[in-house]
């Protein structure tokens, strides 16, 4: 049941992120700019291999290291009716 909940939640967050990351709100833009600076700092100190890897993952890192963006975009899953009874 939890797996289903997480799956539904994942799709919801995923969908919202897909929409919202391309939005033009000032809050989101500012947050991403900050993260880009952090990413640059990390890659500068890393090896060539790391630079390539992180550069290829820039989009992932931008969102998933940005608390403000995630808090703005994430949607809590709709609470499911609890059907189970007793201790599992």
């Amino acid at each position: 049941m939890r797996r289903a909940t997480i799956g539904i939640f994942g799709l919801m967050v995923f969908g919202l992120l897909a929409t919202a990351c391309s939005s033009d709100t000032a809050e989101t833009t500012a947050a991403i700019e900050t993260t880009v600076l952090n990413t640059t700092t990390t890659t500068t100190a890393a090896t060539t291999t790391t630079i390539e890897a992180v550069a290829a993952d820039a989009s992932c890192v931008e969102c998933h290291t940005d608390q403000v963006t995630l808090q703005a975009l994430a949607v809590e899953p709709v609470a499911e009716e609890i059907l189970s009874e007793g201790e599992g």
Binding site: R2, V13, F14, A46, A53, S59, C63, L70, G86
Partner: protein, 365 residues
């Protein structure tokens, strides 16, 4: 265990992660997806939230992933063994297979579900900003799944039938021991002889730490009883017993279960799984959450060999005490039928299933 908010579950908060070996690999190398895409939908296409242990981790941790595939946490062989035994089959029937998929597979763990995130069955979410934890934090991983019995017994969260709380296991308080201090890498990663269930092999024994207790002069009771009684018979107290679990799905397909209220009780019985490592005549028994009709939602008579295993199963409760009611004196145990699984304590339709573990008469003085 409180659940993480949605954003916390996927928040990579630990900047230092990107300077680690795992961080060097980048996101896409393990999770897939398209890291070059600025559109989130494209970026997440093909992304895997919980990377496969073999496909992802084995390139560096091959020794561990090879044995881990055989561990009970990965294979869930313990469930399969008892279901097949009660069904009288070597492979699950279609009905039981569907039940297994709906109700049991969630308990499967991957490398990441202990070392990076909370297990899915415990709600999921990163443990600490995607840092890899070794050993995993016990409260977020081990007891996140092993909650209703192990966690509550080990930490002293159960109410005693006569009132008050049953004390925590001395290994936890005052011992302060985490799970992995007894259940180490080899057991967790399947680096032990192949197991069909968790008591198939003694991956951990009390005497691993408590050396030579049988020969010690400090307590003559150890020399007198060590060959006949499992340690828990004298050093455990009331523990949780569950009855009559039934599983099914809602009209929308959501799996759920119904189980009768659990009972705190203590049953000494005969040892039905005697082996070189578990030679004792008497052990503790716990009623496990099984019923003749547990899987009846998935078909009729799916457990035709129900009586081939006891419903009061060999148990090792995690609530060890130095001093217990039954070891207070000789008479506290000898002849005390309250402590023993006598026939009157067994449901009538389970007498046959438990005939190998029932104690007809409590041993006298």
């Amino acid at each position: 265990m409180p659940q993480l908010e949605a954003w916390e579950q996927v928040f990579v908060s630990d900047d230092e992660f990107f300077e680690t070996t795992h961080g060097d690999l980048g996101c896409v190398a393990c999770h897939g997806g398209d890291g070059d895409s600025s559109g989130m939908e494209e970026a997440h296409t093909g992304m895997v939230r919980d990377p496969d242990s073999i496909e992802t981790c084995s390139s560096c941790h091959n020794d561990t992933t090879t044995t881990d595939a055989m561990s009970l946490h990965s294979s869930l062989q313990g469930y399969l063994t008892v279901m097949n035994t009660r069904a009288g089959t070597e492979e699950l029937s279609p009905g039981l297979e569907l039940a297994f998929e709906n109700h049991c597979e969630e308990c499967h763990t991957s490398c990441g579900q202990c070392h990076v995130s909370r297990p899915t069955s415990a709600g999921g979410g990163l443990l600490a900003g995607h840092s890899f934890k070794n050993p995993p934090p016990m409260n977020l991983t081990c007891t996140g799944c092993h909650g209703s019995r192990v966690n509550d017994e080990y930490k002293g969260k159960n109410e005693a039938p006569e009132g008050g709380m049953i004390p925590a296991d001395v290994h936890f308080n005052p011992g302060g021991m985490a799970c992995f201090e007894c259940h180490g890498d080899a057991e967790m990663h399947g680096d032990v002889p192949a197991q069909s269930h968790r008591y198939d092999d003694a991956a951990v024994e009390c005497t691993d730490c408590h050396l030579n207790v049988e020969d010690s002069d400090e307590n003559p009771q150890h020399a007198m009883h060590a060959e006949d009684l499992a340690c828990q018979v004298c050093h455990s107290v009331d523990y949780k017993n569950c009855y009559s679990c039934h599983v099914q799905t809602s009209e929308e397909g959501t799996p759920y279960f119904k189980i009768e209220p659990s009972e705190m009780a203590f049953y000494i019985g005969k040892n039905a799984v005697q082996s070189e490592q578990r030679p004792w005549d008497y052990v503790l028994l716990r009623h496990v959450p099984i019923d003749r009709d547990s899987f009846s939602f998935y078909g009729e008579d799916l457990l035709p060999e129900f009586d081939s295993l006891p419903t009061f199963a060999y148990a090792t409760p995690h609530n060890i005490q130095t001093n217990t009611p039954q070891n207070a004196s000789c008479d506290a145990c000898h002849g005390n039928e309250e402590l023993f699984l006598t026939p009157d304590k067994v449901p009538a339709d389970e007498l046959v299933a438990n005939e190998d573990v029932i104690v007809d008469v409590a041993p006298g003085p």
